[in-house]
């Protein structure tokens, strides 16, 4: 019974915490510009992130060490510094876009500007980290995140053509706007395969003292939770394709897409959109700020853990505090959250091999995994999707910037 509860809670957390600025922003743009044609990056990304999350949970359960801990030990600091710096930069970039997204949600709901709302949002994230425990953050935000299921309800209500939706799951070359198509595909892959999810999950597993007994639950949560999360993300593309595309709306900012739920939910649609964006961004910002602290603490061997008082781990607590201070700068400069998000997602994909490559080596090392090393399917699937993402990024990002 306890095991089932743990699995249910894990799936709830995965679903409720899946959508954030990156996934909402890229999905809205993709649906509006290419209707269902860009559902496949979400499907591919979801397969990849499900494998990666399962791997990092398995590593933590078997070795009782986090991925970052082992990476420094296995490769030494002179190598580990590169994935560390790459992920630090990616996490900071994405954290800035999440704070911007949360501020934009408040602007949509209550007026004002993102400049005004960025500071209160960052203070709220900081206060939740400073005063509450890991379980409160993980379960509380994920439960609130279930508001994002309004996109699934909207999809059912709008009744898309199932054949058209299914055809979007197969990658095809676009008829026009190849650069934008590729750039959006890269953004969607980056939003789905976020490296912070992998390191955060691994740290959470160690915080919750997982053991090899938890391997089955880990596999179920990673597989089912991420699949459901991917479906929620796809429903944003579908709703955008059915509502924004026919009106010729190409969202340049979150504000342009704010009416996407109006045909289903009426005037309340705006508030549901704002709530989905706000809660999704807030949840992701909490995880990212914590992840930055985890990264630094595990790299340098500091004490860490969200369940401890800040005075027991001053460096850990002050790292997320400093990260949040840096992350509000783009919003204070009024940089549009959606543009920042797209750039952050593209950068994420470029950094993926540096972060994921060493993990793949560790996952095939029996010294850490004993009899639980990766199978060939996992190795091939993750490598293929990451390589695809990087090739797409190398080809489409310069084309997109040259075009614009």
């Amino acid at each position: 019974m306890k095991g089932l509860l743990k699995i249910a809670l894990g799936i709830l957390t995965s679903v409720g915490g899946y959508l954030e600025a990156g996934s909402i922003g890229t999905a809205l743009q993709a649906g509006a510009a290419f209707r269902f044609a860009l559902l496949w990056p979400i499907a591919a990304g979801t397969v990849c992130i499900a494998f990666l999350v399962e791997m990092s949970g398995r590593l933590a359960a078997v070795s009782r060490h986090t991925m970052v801990d082992i990476m420094r030990k296995r490769f030494g600091v002179s190598f580990h510094i590169w994935p560390f710096v790459a992920q630090l930069v990616v996490d900071l970039f994405v954290l800035a876009s999440e704070i911007g997204g949360a501020a934009m949600a408040m602007q949509l709901a209550f007026g004002g500007s993102i400049r005004v709302w960025a500071l209160p949002m960052a203070v709220l994230v900081w206060a939740l980290l400073w005063f509450t425990s890991f379980a409160t953050i993980e379960n509380g935000v994920a439960t609130l995140g279930l508001v994002t299921l309004c996109f699934v309800v909207a999809t059912v209500q709008l009744g898309p053509d199932p054949h058209a939706v299914a055809s979007g799951l197969v990658p095809r070359l676009p008829v026009s706007n190849a650069a934008q198509y590729g750039y959006l595909a890269v953004g969607m892959l980056g939003a789905t395969i976020s490296p912070y999810l992998v390191t955060f999950y691994s740290s959470g597993a160690v915080e919750e003292k997982w053991s090899p007994k938890d391997l089955v639950a880990n596999r179920i949560v990673a597989g089912i939770g991420m699949s459901f999360g991917g479906m929620v993300s796809m429903s944003v593309v579908i709703v955008s394709a059915l509502v924004l595309a026919p009106q010729g709306i190409q969202p340049e900012s979150f504000k342009d897409a704010a009416g996407v739920l109006r045909p289903v939910f009426g005037a309340g649609g705006l508030y549901l959109f704002a709530a989905s964006l706000g809660v999704g961004c807030l949840g992701a910002a909490l995880e990212l700020a914590l992840d930055l602290s985890y990264l630094a603490a595990q790299t340098f061997g500091w004490e860490w853990g969200e369940d401890q008082e800040p005075s027991h781990e001053a460096r850990f607590a002050l790292t997320y505090t400093a990260a949040l201070v840096l992350a509000i700068v783009p919003s204070l400069l009024a940089i549009d959250p959606l543009k920042l998000t797209m750039a952050a997602m593209a950068f994420t994909v470029i950094a993926l091999p540096i972060v994921i490559g060493p993990l793949m080596v560790i996952m095939n090392d029996p010294e850490y995994l004993k009899t639980h090393t990766n199978g060939w399917i996992t190795n091939i699937a993750v490598t293929a999707i990451v390589v695809l993402g990087v090739i797409l990024a190398i080809v489409s990002i310069p084309l997109q910037f040259a075009g614009s």
Binding site: K73, G76, F131, E303, A314, R315, A317
Partner: protein, 121 residues
Amino acid sequence: MDLIRDLLDTRILDKQGRRIGRVDGVWLRVDARRPPRVLSAEAGLSTVSHRIHKSFGRLVRAWIVRRSGRLRAVKFPVTVWTKLDKDLHVGLDAECQGQLLRFEKWLRRNIVNRIPGGGAR
């Protein structure tokens, strides 16, 4: 013992199980007539920065010396080691040892404890 595989970059835990750093460097006694002997493990920003890159290490060392007058890397002699498995366990209590966790204790005293909620949850 394979020094690089088994010791370097290993986490250091005090006798309360508290994480107090990583083995950033190893001190050896090299004698032409005997095999090298490990004297101590060393942890500190100056040591780790030197391993990342020599020029970076020089910059960091110069900055530390200018700020505090001397390098402050901490040595853990083999006499205080109690166990070496995936972690290096030392028989010291970091909270009671003045030379350990200096920066952590400074941050705690001067910043964290002055913020509401910093000391108790």
